[in-house]
Symmetry: D3
């Protein structure tokens, strides 16, 4: 069991039910989630001490977000209160050839307007083994970009391992800006997730493993990164996906088992990958076991309606060890 | 049947169900409403041509708000599209001694940021008999204050009757500012709703009818207002209210029947009063009939879960003529 | 425990939920009910053998209606199958001053088109102690009027007691026609329910007990009726009612306790009265006990969402013996 | 943007939720739909002025049906009021090898009893570019058969293009009668949908394109029809279908892309095809683009729970241009 | 139509909805079911007289279980009342690679503590053609093991055919104990279900038909069993299964059609097989027809949310005769 | 802010929704609650450090109960895992004259079978200011009686204040046994809740304040108790209650304001009283303020659907200071 800190935004997700569209909808389901919050809950589920840091408004939605984190055992003692509002995002789940639709209403959220000097990083990183953050946080606002950079450097300084999930979102920033930012922080990063510099055609999902490996080797050489990993999704439709992952551990490029998935909810699948990956890494598993656990964890996430995974380490191990048949035990 | 224009904000209301509190809630019901929009729907239900004017974002929530207005027969042809977001307000309905709780998240909405010169008032007021607007609109933002003033003057210029619902909200502005604004626009107002300058103790609901009448006579003298009217609510608890209204028609101060109400949803009761009042006024009813219809309409509104009333003129007349027994016809 | 037969229509009730109005509703709750079917279920709940006779279409709605009767222990072996459709009635429950609204769509139902010679009355009335039917059945159609008359005479012939619930519905027939029909069948009736020939002002609910008693004495003299009884409802609003009942047992006019009722669902309250009344009568209780059980049963019905009562004899006795405090036992 | 008129019945659809069967169901979802109403809404979604003509009862269900059409922007100004009832159809959605089950209760509906001389066709067809009607309308009743014929001729006379969707339903009439009727109206038809005179084995879905083309050429020669088109469905189970379409444009027989569909709700897929087809035709797209848009539109319809499509032209174009991967944009 | 008796436990199933997990769930759906109860309802649906025997507590859950059986036409006249509680089992339905999860809370249930001498077997087996029981009942408790043995012998003595469903559950007893028990009762068994002594690899589902047949021949020789049958499931995931069955009729080993199933609810699929099998056997169908009906029935069960099948013989025959396309009839 | 420990059982409450009865119900809502757990959550809401101690099974229901406590900020670090099952209680909420109905199924729960030596009381009572426990815990089982006694003595030994809520439940033990037990532990008790030795007629709720005071004075003399307090409920019906409380502070008998309550859910109202009482006591408020806060807190609880209160100290103070009008702030 290790101590992990993640930092980012937790939002209120308001989703339509069943196959309902936004237009004409009469009800919304409430969930709370966000990249790094999902990772924190995932790590807590797997038995670690996970602390999530953010800023939330002092109203019932801020309180509910915090309580939800507590429900799953996350340490919320460094969350700061204040600001105007919680960020919202609306989700209309897709099915068959109809894509899921997302409407963001996160501007001016308490977190997006928060400055790095509002956070007490000395307390935050006390006894911390690993710090995880994603590119989404950097992309939210000018303030958050500064905050991300500051937190990463501070974590490094304090002796934490640093994990960075590139997680590019084109609705938030330009590809160039995201890479420029990446390059700025890579010197402080130990584990890099979700970034494949070359060797993949994102339209066809065709992959040239040699090129990919070559790209990863360069990254390692330049920045001395320990582990580089990414999932690769093949989307047949909004209801049917295939998912696998790759891991470069400094020596080999490992390719995971590929899962065929009946999608119930794909939100947070990447965060579940990160949580599974970091958890097994911190449990000192082998590269192969880390990779297979992480991809099983991410695949499993597609069956859970929350943004984060609800599962135990045992459930995921059963699958990563080979039983994805969905049979009932009784 | 007359042509009415109302202008203001329409928001998305997200409410918990049954007796659920915000903290821990899993679902929210979606409704669309706002003072002047509610009045427009009410007038449409009663057989008038009602046009509602606002600005809404070009997304599915903006579209759903417009479609809801269309569903109830409101003319939406002058609604303009654009801006960032629809205003939201969250409602946790109260019961017994627990008050309803409201969380507003309406800052930076498309409407609040709209300028008067974005609206085509020549088209808006074409063939318009009456223009209705409320103090809430004036209080939303600097832009909306200008817009309210501009629209009232323009309406008067175009020969419309002007009705103004004072509707003071202390979370939006100071009492002084609201009265200052009122005095600025009163010269253009024909019907004044919801403003009692003196003669009422708002804590105890004790009323000195002579003083009230005196206050109204002064207003009439100063600004040549045709009709001054207001509801008065006695709140025993969030579940049980009493409601009545007064009307000064230039000669007499009339006091309506007092209704004992089992509250299902009190939101929009004031707007229902305005709609009922204006509708009967435009049908050339007597002062007494206008008043009794309006208060029956407002009382009935407490049984309807939407922000606006769903009812017909016949349903309200049955009650205002004396039958509030709730018996089934069969 | 006695054997009772009731005959009439069982319909599908489709109601909106909570306080929703028809216009704009998205869901309907399904219930099955009808005057005599409700009485049969009530009697079965109280431990009697109750048989319900009707005609239903040979489709899943007909089957569901039959299965619902079976669920509550009613003998459905003489229900005949065929015809076009099950009758429907839509209910929008009222609240406060808003009345419940009913839309009937029962024309051309299998039962309404059924003829008396389709039923095997020899089998139906075998070992039957009491036959109950209501004026609603007589009013449904020309065919049903014949059927009602035929069944009453046949029951009498076979030695059953006959109970008739006048249950006047102005949407189905004229008052005169209903009284003409009543007079035609009264010579065969032992127990008459829901008919007060004089002494009550139905608008004000003021009652002149001497006149009422006088009217009942006349009826007894003319037709040799054993028991005459009726409930009297005072409707403050759709949510709050008062209810009591009177019973003329050939000697005295008894007046029951008056219940103050918080209404959850008033449909079937009259049928619950009939069921409670007949049940206790068949258990040989005293006039006073019959009356108090019946009115407690009818009052209790207002707390049950189905058309019929769900309760045990013990539950009702607890109330009729004096405890209506609603305290929890634990 | 063009002006389209459609005429037919709009019914109340009452469906069970999830995988519930009729027997034992406790709730029904309310939707409103019908062949030509669905087409009108589809065309309105795509930016056209669509007018829907029918007759509906003057009660809350008739009003709700009209309001639903307004919600989606359909012109309801020529809908007439009166008659006894709205037609109902109950749907129990199928899954896997269990077929969807439909119970119709549409006899004696206001529309089915309406006569052609109740409609003001001069007003209806004013400025109308295209009139669409289906074989279902003709099959409903004797009155509706006359009405269909009358309306088609009147539309032609008024200079509208005429589109006819054969849409054969064996529960409504015999195949022979439907073809006889078709032949009677084909001289007035410009666009014929859903009719393949020969070349297809409806059991196996095997198709002989030469024969089909030959059949279409004959039709064109005989009746001078501009466009003949039809969808072809391959049903693996109630949950998994494949769908493609063919179009004879007077020169070539075009075959569309074939979609593999995860079915959420297949009701109205044919009407969505018609709407998509007519919309693109009226936007002057090429034969190939019309066909691909229409089949994408129909496939997309399977993901929408209403009877009609809820979508924009942009959403369908994205799919018809090749992206049916269901990926989220964010 | 034959008379069948089944004996066992009926429990309350409490399941989460949609894809919700136990942790964090807010609602549970109530169903009633249990192996032999499911068989009884299935046989009743197919037109037989089915009697179910058990012991249930004298509270509202016991009553609801009995009423549910009545709803589907099962004879409950020999169910005895008493004891402490109804057994509960919680179900979290699986999806994709996530297995369904079951939590049993059935210890100390009224049935599990009941002794064979509480049941009136002379009345139970009067006119009984066939008695069915399963290994689950034997495994519940010491008392139930005795009861199972006693009932089987008594049934045989009374001249009933005896059908035994092996239905091994490893959470209830050891494999060895279950086989020992099986061997003890096989001399009284005519129809053996769910037991394949050799020739199948339960991990891979690979089957050696010769070996299987050989195993069945031995059983027949040893115990003179008329029919031996079993389903074989191939589980791709919790959402997608394949299912087929085998039948040894004393001469041949027949293999059924294999169904590809989209799973809505797999609970009770084995009981549906038994019900279908016994029903067709009692209708004197051929071995092939019995087998194909039973496997179609079991496959169909996966589309029904209850523990038991809701279907008619006609629906299953349509599928077993070849139409599993899920097309709508209309 | 103080440190409080409570010890007892937390159960799963499964309740029907709306006005549904158990018989025929299809859904149950899940809540978690129990006397001392409710008190702990209440104290946490009011800003204290509350620790709840119990034993729960190592399954998803045990985990959900713990997580729910965490959600509301309760310290669960001393909850022990193991045993067979979580206790269940089913609630059918009453309305009007229909009482709420409770079915307990709590026998053999993990907690009821736990022994005092399984708990680490040295860790539990570290830094503890006050220990609260109720008579329900003592009544659950022989083991729990021992546990209660042991814990009370241990707490006293460790220097904690001890609060005991008598909370008599006749379904669990005899009145005599409960008083015998009370007398055994009173020497260790500082605050006694819910016990009025004389001066009240529990049928009529008539109270003789002098006698009550006299009884309390005796208790104080005998056992040196600091504070003695109790609520008194007047139940007009299941929907309408009145509630007030009395407090003997060693000098005076104070009587609180009496609240008229519209009941949404009365479960846990007593625990809310205890929580409010202890909280204000620990905040060093005056006797009058403690009493008024506690009774406002208990009254407010009737509006909250959970077993425990969801509220803030500010909300309750607003009411206890006089505003129970249920008005909306906006």
């Amino acid at each position: 069991m290790k101590n992990i800190v993640t930092l980012g935004e937790i939002m209120m997700r308001l989703s339509t039910s069943g196959f309902e569209r936004f237009v004409g909808a009469k009800n919304l389901e409430i969930h709370y989630g966000g990249g790094e919050a999902n990772v924190a809950i995932g790590l807590s589920n797997f038995g670690h001490n996970a602390k999530f840091v953010t800023k939330l408004p002092l109203n019932d939605w801020g309180k509910s977000a915090i309580n939800t984190l507590k429900y799953y055992g996350v340490d919320t003692s460094n969350i700061i209160g204040g600001g105007d509002r919680i960020g919202i995002y609306y989700v209309e789940p897709g099915v068959s050839m109809r894509s899921s639709k997302v409407i963001y209403d996160r501007k001016n959220s308490s977190f997006s307007k928060s400055n790095f000097d509002e956070y007490d990083f000395d307390s935050i990183f006390e006894n911390c083994d690993l710090f995880n953050i994603s590119g989404i946080t950097a992309a939210i606002s000018k303030e958050c970009k500064e905050l991300t950079k500051f937190a990463i450097k501070k974590a490094k300084e304090k002796g934490c391992l640093v994990s960075y999930d590139y997680n590019y979102r084109k609705m938030l920033w330009e590809r160039e800006e995201s890479i420029e930012f990446l390059e700025e922080i890579l010197p402080y990063v130990d584990i890099l997730i979700g970034y494949i510099p070359k060797g993949i055609d994102w339209e066809t999902n065709e992959i040239n493993f040699d090129e990919v490996k070559n790209g990863f080797e360069n990254l390692k050489k330049l920045y001395n990164i320990k582990l580089i990993t990414s999932t690769i999704r093949e989307s047949e439709s909004a209801s049917d996906n295939k998912l696998y992952a790759i891991l470069y551990d400094g020596n080999d490029l490992l390719v995971s088992k590929k899962y065929k998935i009946r999608v119930a909810n794909r939100i947070g699948a990447g965060d579940a990958y990160t949580a599974g990956f970091l958890s097994e890494y911190l449990y000192d598993s082998s590269s192969r076991d880390i990779l297979e656990f992480a991809i099983a964890c991410s695949s499993f996430k597609h069956t859970v309606m929350e943004d984060f995974n609800i599962c135990t380490r045992e459930e995921i191990l059963k699958i990563s060890k080979g039983d994805a048949s969905g049979k009932v035990e009784r």
